[in-house]
């Protein structure tokens, strides 16, 4: 860090490029299109809805990356944040 970057608030365009590139590559590498992700989302909602009532508006499903213990650095990860409104009574 130098004195000049201390005063500049905006991230450098290099960092923007790097972040965009990382995100693009995650999708390229897992070969998962937005349509596939949409289909996956619909399926997840359907299955979970059998057991609980969920907030579909606030639902967030995306592919990101995570660090692993292995040597490969980061691997793609399916991230899902599904807020539960209430549990359904499940017939056993």
């Amino acid at each position: 860090m130098d004195l000049f970057s201390f005063f500049s608030r905006k991230p450098s365009s290099k960092d923007v490029a790097k972040d965009r590139l990382k995100l693009v590559l995650i999708h390229d590498r897992v070969n998962c299109s937005t349509q596939v992700l949409e289909m996956l989302k619909t399926d997840i909602i359907r299955v979970i809805s059998n057991y609980m009532e969920i907030d579909e508006e606030e639902l967030d499903i995306q592919i990101t990356q995570t660090e692993t213990d292995g040597t490969n650095g980061s691997v793609p990860m399916l991230y899902a944040n599904i807020p539960i409104k209430s549990m359904r009574k499940v017939q056993m």
Binding site: M1, D2, F4, K14, D15, A17, R20, L21, V24
Partner: protein, 265 residues
Amino acid sequence: MSEVIVITSGKGGVGKTTTSANLGTGLAMAGKKVVMIDADIGLRNLDVIMGLENRIVYDLIDVIEGNCRLKQALIRDKRYDNLFLLPAAQTRDKEAISPEQMNKLCETLKEEYDYIIIDCPAGIEQGFKNAIAGADRAIVVTTPEVSAVRDADRIIGLLEANELKNPMLILNRIRVDMVKRGDMMAMDDVTEILAIDIIGIVPDDESIVISANKGEPSVTDLSSKAGEAYRNISQRVLGNNVPLMDLDFDKGILSKFKKLFKLGS
């Protein structure tokens, strides 16, 4: 021991042909017997970069189809006796040749040459498959841009799927001034993302345009920074350990001023 090296990138316009010409010439300057194959059928350019466009009689497809002997199609370089070019056909397309034929051609050339450098066309279709068919190793060229690095990542995946393990990377057209002010990805940024070994970095240099204008690869120009980078790359291909170029010229007054105020590292 002969080696077939394919120069590829996925994206067009990142410097595959320039790299092929300079690496081929660089290896010839080091005394190796080299042949460069232009595999970009229909859009040949290695001949003009080498300044050999007026000497073409036969081409790659003529050799494949048996219209001439291999020796007749090979063009000897103007400067180096041990450097040859096998030009691409300009009036045909990528389907005029198969990966098997390319592989066979490489095997034949290996009997007589130390290095066979293949200039791969852009894209991932038939032309790419032909170009990599006979290769023993691959060099991927990219520039520090999102689109070029993305395509390089795709190409690395395809190379590894085709048994070309451990491709090496050339990061081309680095602008030190832009890297310094944080507007261009540097070597570390790109290698971190691609997880691949680097075989060379080449600065963005006017001498590349000038040498392309003249048809003389800049590797022969001892005053050119890009030429020096290509001479280093040639040495590394030969297995010699040459440190990566220091691109930090530190010319600007502003950068010196900034340095003065630098805290810590």
